[in-house]
Amino acid sequence: MSPVELFSQPFMQRALIAALLTGLAAPAIGTFLVQRRLALMGDGIGHVAVTGVALGLVTGASPMWTAVLVAVLGSVLIEIIRERGQTNGDVALALLFYGGLAGGTFLSGIGGQSAASLNRYLFGSLTTLSPSDVLVTMVLAIAVVGLCLGLAPQLFAVAQDQEFARVAGLRVRVYNVLVAVLAAVSVTVAMRTVGLLLVSALMVVPVATSQQLTRSFRATLVAAMALGALASVGGLVTATFASYQVNVLTGPTIVLLALTCYVVAWPIGIWTRHRARLREPFASGQAAPAHEACGDHPHAHGPGCGHLAVPHDDHVDYVHDGHRHAVHGGHYDEH
């Protein structure tokens, strides 16, 4: 089958829609989780959702809905433990994670389910989505994106400074639970795309990538959503083409593509942060160090000389091999 024929197949178009929407929704809520230093919460919810999927497979209910239900319950429980426990919250979370994973595999064994049916949810299987699956995915993903963007000012304030938010009259606990519920919903939305075991990657890796290059929250959020969509659609397309030769799974391809973006962005982030430190002006009013002339200087600093110019009170310093030169009469001083 040629690529054009393949992409015109309905199952492939359903997969593309689901990939695009989960790629947008997962990093949107992931940004708020990373901001609150809960990057692994998505992973924990993913483990809990395994029990939900198994429950659906065993009872014959839709695994998607049982997963949503159990994941939301689990995420609210995690949020309560986090709020009350604080110091030892991570141990409680670990108990919940492993309970969820063990419970799920145990249940599906009792129900006589084959490992393959659970695997579809653990590692994702975009191309087996039914039309109703896609509809549910669309509704839930759009709801997550809409709430994340619409309530972004409130969610940002609560995550950035909880006590200030409380004194500003925001209902901090309501917003915290909302973030937990949205995280649970996006985990279940993304479980058919990348799988429950890799779902956290799609929530965290695009955020980590975009924050290498941004200076504001809004830019981080938007760039993370763009990168997430790029990684999941790109991963699906890559996996489809690669599967002409070898057996390639979609979920891991998406995650590896997202990680590749991070590996590319990381050195650029280091370089820009280094440059920002060089450019940082002296605190105003702080006197320059004692007069220290540098030795013979064959190069004349000036606009466009290739050295970074930094304003320093009433004159300009030029960054030169990591230190700063200032014009003083006929020579340069070290500043």
Partner: protein
């Protein structure tokens, strides 16, 4: 709305305990509208806890707090209150620009799911100008110096245009030029008729603004009257002689227990000090 203006904030016989240990005992304090009050005292005297109790971040075990003559638990007019917390040492995981942090201060006046109005944008720009950071609004807060970050937090409180300000140690760890900018900002607020309650270990350039000093020692008010010079606050008759000038080892995290007690708890235990 009687002829005599009610106190902007008042606490009557207020007590706060952390982990069963009393931190504030029987505090009585009433701040009139337009007053500029400095809460002073040695480290551990309870001055930060008092401010946190006044805005409702610390529950009282006894007594009552009233904001604009309304009991704290019924109070919901938060746009009249501006709170400037102690500068957080650890930033959040995601960069936030100066403008975004200041814009959060406008949330007291914004409705849900509405875009910023023109008045909101003007208030944010105005607050940034007052603290002298208008030209740095696009920068990440994490890239600013400590004193500049403190000014960002003040601008955030200013953006909501409140009448009553609570500032928790705004000058701690701030260099002298930045302290001067803070003092100029607070002088402007005072000129506009705002009420200011300020926690300070040392006043420095803020000293000329203070109308009234309240000194705490071991959770009790030991002085309430005309403004004091910094050295007077640390006189032996107000505080222990060996407690001054310890800014750096000063940890304000009062959730922490005593140093020597091992912290053992099961995962779902409440942290100490909560009830």
């Amino acid at each position: 709305m009687s002829g005599v203006p009610a106190a902007a904030v008042a606490i009557a016989n207020g007590s706060v305990a952390l982990g069963g240990r009393p931190v504030l005992r029987g505090i009585d304090l009433s701040v009139a509208p337009g007053e500029f009050v400095a809460l002073m005292g040695a480290n551990g005297s309870g001055k930060s806890t008092l401010v946190r109790a006044l805005v409702g971040l610390r529950p009282l075990v006894g007594g009552e707090v009233r904001l604009f003559d309304t009991p704290l638990d019924q109070y919901d007019d938060w746009q009249r209150i501006g709170y400037v917390p102690q500068r957080a040492t650890a930033g959040s995981g995601i960069p936030a620009s100066v403008w975004e942090v200041v814009a959060a201060g406008r949330l007291t006046r914004r409705r849900l799911l509405r875009p910023l109005s023109r008045a909101d944008r003007a208030a944010i720009a105005d607050a940034l100008e007052v603290v002298g950071l208008g030209d740095r609004r696009r920068e990440a807060v994490g890239n600013l110096s400590g004193g500049q970050q403190q000014r960002v937090l003040i601008a955030r409180a200013l953006a909501g245009a409140p009448e009553l300000f609570f500032l928790d140690e705004p000058t701690a760890g701030v260099d002298l030029p930045n302290q001067q900018v803070l003092a100029d900002t607070l002088a402007q607020l005072k000129g506009r008729g705002a009420t200011v309650v300020l926690v300070a270990h040392e006043l420095g350039p803020l000293a000329p603004l203070v109308d009234r000093a309240v000194v705490l020692r071991d959770g009790r008010v030991v002085y309430d009257g005309a403004a004091l010079q910094d050295h007077e606050v640390h006189q032996p008759w107000l505080a222990e002689p060996h407690t001054h000038h310890h800014h750096h080892g000063d940890h304000h995290d009062d959730r922490r227990g005593a140093d020597h007690v091992p912290q053992i708890a099961s995962p779902v235990d409440r942290p100490r000090g909560e009830h």
